[in-house]
Symmetry: C2
Subunit: 343 residues, 2 copies
């Protein structure tokens, strides 16, 4: 019969120490392997530990060591298949290092003066995807030297935060030029992502520079907002088409593959032939892209690698304090049927 008082039912380090006939410090050293423990004691502890099924209490450990062994991934939302490869890359590295991963969303709505749900108080470092955090928050965290890596976003002026992203502008330029030169398209609709999103901005820049380079006037009526979301893209295109007097167009560049799905649905419903009448191209080369109807011409972005590398950078920060500035992974056009090519 034991007094339970406030004690939880689980085994503590003191229980282990008592049973093994050593001090708690020795048990701690054995577990963390950060100081010598004699072979005999080690062996004894090994047995006692597995016998008692001891698992260190994370909070106590975190409090004492001022480390959480958790890294956080901050996103604005999870509404895109794009996140599967990203999460995969992140999770693989996090697990390999024996850390845990918290994922959280944070966006304008939740910004009613709530602080971000994850940060120095519950993680050792943060992966910030795109607009997952506001500049102001970045400045604050940066000021206290909190380890962060930006993903698909470059740091605001004056902030030295490592960043991992992909090449957007040049590849988009090439892709649009392909539409113009090889398929004779001249009225190309551009479907933006979220307005301030960096990838979207660079893709738009590539789009515009390709038009200019080919003597085509920029027409702002050919810009739509798709927000990188299937449904929003679908709605946007539908509304555009419903208005019978919409401007003419012969191609659509959707900022990402997920939005491309919505665009395809809308175009199909209105009976347009793709790619004969309207060519469609995307970005990301998500797994389903080769199987869309028609197969989607798109840009292959190494998303899993982005996740992996960003996480490794973050651990570099945790280990060495050294940081590697901006990493831009290269991208590649994948020609399929939806642009008018035949394979």
């Amino acid at each position: 019969m034991t007094t339970m008082s406030r004690r939880s039912s689980s085994v503590t380090i003191r229980d282990v120490a008592r049973k093994a006939g050593v001090s708690v410090a020795t048990v701690s050293r054995y577990i963390n392997q950060n100081a010598n423990v004699s072979p005999e004691v080690s062996e004894r502890l090994g047995l006692v530990l597995s016998e008692m099924k001891y698992v260190p209490h994370a909070a106590a450990r975190n409090l004492a060591s001022r480390k959480t062994r958790v890294i956080g991934l901050l996103l604005n939302n999870l509404h895109n298949d794009f996140f599967v490869p990203l999460l995969n890359g992140v999770e693989a590295v996090v697990r390999k290092r024996g850390y845990n991963l918290i994922i959280a969303t944070y966006h304008a709505d939740s910004r009613t003066e709530m602080p971000p749900p994850i940060g120095p108080h519950n993680t050792d470092g943060l992966l910030v995807f795109s607009d997952g955090l506001f500049d102001e928050d970045l400045v604050n965290l940066s000021a206290i030297g909190f380890p962060m890596v930006l993903v698909h976003r470059t740091p605001p002026p004056d902030l030295k935060i490592p960043s991992v992203t992909v090449e957007n502008k040049e590849i988009t330029h090439k892709l649009i030029e392909h539409l113009i030169k090889d398929h004779g398209k001249r009225r190309i609709l551009f479907m933006r992502g979220p307005v301030h999103q960096e990838d979207s901005i660079h893709r738009e820049a590539g789009y515009i520079s390709a038009l200019q380079a080919n003597g085509i006037a920029f027409d702002e009526n050919l810009i739509l907002n798709g927000d990188y979301e299937r449904d929003i893209a679908y709605q946007a295109v539908s509304k555009f088409l419903e208005n019978g007097k919409h401007v003419e167009f012969d191609a659509v560049f959707t900022g990402d593959d997920d939005a491309a799905i919505g665009v395809l649905r809308a175009l199909h419903q209105f009976g347009y032939q793709i790619p004969e009448r309207i060519a469609v191209i995307g970005f990301d080369d998500l797994g389903f892209a080769p199987f869309l109807n028609p197969p989607l011409t798109t840009v292959r972005a190494p998303t899993e690698a982005v996740g992996r590398i960003a996480t490794e950078r973050l651990f570099d920060l945790l280990d060495n304090q050294t940081s590697d500035e901006v990493t831009m992974l290269s991208t590649e056009i994948i020609f399929r049927r939806s642009c008018g090519c035949n394979n």
Copy 2:
């Protein structure tokens, strides 16, 4: 000039208390709103808190209160677009409750006698997806009354763990029967998911019962393993077809839409007409399904709702201790072109 010793740089509840001229207990009560604090003090604290940008240290809080305010989601892997809607449902509820979400993978490989990365030591409750945890672990956790909800899996015998899943067998029976009766298919390949995965087992049961009900002999040569993964499914079908003497078949039921992508790629590469020569059907109705080539006939599974409901159940457990047994959400066939239907 302050002595920093082991002190972290962040402001603690004691700093706040001192500045506001009250005790730490009062600050704690104000923050947690779990006891009366006079209006004057409240006002003062409100100011001081925002001025000092105080954020409670999670570990200290967890240690003292024996709550982590974190729930965990345990998966075997993240290799499927299926997880996007699931994560969405889970994350939405978790955030609404002001909790954090840890996601972790745990599978046979990592089982080299490592305990699961998340559990009672760092979460208040667990969502266990499919085979994210072994029966043995379920038994242990269940024995100490640790809050858990199973997702796409029912509890092992004798364990009372709430479970949220979808209807598999009947709907699969109907779907296969549709192939047989409406499209005259008789040699239907079934592509399994992971061998012991419950959905896969029930889908197989539905497949077999439909065959029996229609006087078609079960042929084990028509069973392939796809593991719910695009690439594995692709490899499996390719290898099957490469062997020139493979058994004849006129349809494929892939256990899920993601594997269906791999199947479609393989069939296309070998030049089969879909659905004229080979019909293909999937399961889940992922976002891309209507846009595959051809549009995929599949079963709509309310995956986001599964995530949402499972998480709500888990919070019920944390709140009331009451649990709702097995919840099975209904599913529905979505007829598209890949089975031979025309719309």
